[in-house]
Amino acid sequence: MGSIMNALRGWARVELACRYSERAVNICARNHVEFWDLKRTPEGAAQMSVSLPGYVKLRQVARETGAFTVKIVRRSGAPFFLWRLRRRYVLLAGLLLCVLLTGLSSVFIWQIDVTGNQDVPSSKILAALKGEGVDIGKCVLNITEQRVADRILLQIPELSFITLNNHGSRLEVIVREKRPVPELYDPDIPTAVFARKAGIITETTVLEGWRTAEPGDTVDVGDRLIASWVPLGAGRLTHASGSVWARTWYEMSMEMPLKVSRKTYTGERSKRLFLLFGGKRINLYFLGGNPYAGCDKITVYKKLTLPGGTVLPLTVARDTFEEYTLRTEEVSPEEAERVLSARLTGLLEEQIGQGWVVSRDFETRAEDGLVTVTLRAECVEEIGLERALTPEEIAAEKAGQPQP
């Protein structure tokens, strides 16, 4: 880090000629001349490195005391480099223009980063920001962060907090989403347990309410399994809950053709560079369009940034086209059966939820170049679904309850 700072500030290697070089060094130290890497030359002179301000001071001390003479051995660093370029006007003008453009570009937004969102997509937030005048290429001076944040919160009710932090040409948007309100257990709301699926009841556990389906009963989807009305004494409505297990049956089928198309990459590849400047595309090639009849296109973007994180309004991107040919392949019925069986098994497990498979049977049929696999399975699963009752259902419960 020190060497970088010295390179920026400029430094010189100087030689102090004096009868006693120790005396010259002590004079320098006493007069607060900063120096480092002091060495004695074979001739007895002191050689040291000094910064540019230190060199100016050293010359002044040498002149005032007359104790030694100063000779520059080597000069290095940005000031000396720029001094050598002082007559190259076009180059200096270009450098000045570059500095000006870099400074000017930092008042425009060239990158927007959205962080903190999980369920609300970034595209939705960016679209809302665009509607408020915050977009790539817009001037940051025209944006009032607090006003934009307030309006975005009104537009996207899923957000609880949003802040816009401007880091030069990069706008950081930090959001927090609202937590969903948990479903509260309210014992005063009358509920009943209904059948989610059709099946034969094997076991019923009632925590609250009145059992209306016994083990061995066959139930259909929507049948009431645990009633809300408890007909004991004068009778009362309850928040019915419990679990109901039942034997269920599934039958599902899937098909697969015996001829499938597969990609085969030929190894041919074409690359095209282009630039993105403030959302505008500048092609660095002449012929457009897809170079191959069948190809995959992969685009890689690289945003240019300065050291320190300042984003430049330029993105270098590359399209890579990889050619492929489609080849028709025959799939054996055994392979098709294996693939379809695995898919059907996965689908069945997704549908069961809480429960297990008791038995399963696959039936395979191949005709007209198509393989059809049918899965028939018997399962045991929890089929109870707790639901709040409507006023009509409450009245029906009170009217038609079985007597204890």
Partner: protein, 93 residues
């Protein structure tokens, strides 16, 4: 002679009250880090320097650093940093 006696008295007082001598009394402080770095505070200038020997004048004593490829890495009117392969630091009263 009187000044020397005064300095000794002050040093004695600082020892009694357990005060750091280098802070107010100008007593030199020599810090050796490994065998390659010597830091001298409160020096009064160089008397001799070279790749094998560096002698610094300090209040009341001389600090003689011996070694090989010795260099003055940095120097100000109060501090002196010597780097190189240090083989010994000697105090000459």
């Amino acid at each position: 002679m009187r000044k020397d006696r005064g300095g000794k008295a002050l040093l004695k007082v600082s020892e009694i009250f357990d005060l750091p001598g280098e802070a107010g009394l100008g007593v030199p402080r020599v810090t050796v880090t490994g065998a390659h770095h010597v830091h001298i505070e409160n020096h009064r200038g160089l008397l001799e320097y070279g790749p094998e020997t560096i002698v610094a004048s300090c209040p009341g004593l001389l600090v003689k650093i011996r070694g090989a490829a010795l260099e003055i890495a940095a120097m100000s009117d109060l501090e002196l940093v010597v780097t190189g392969r240090v083989s010994g630091v000697e105090f000459v009263s």
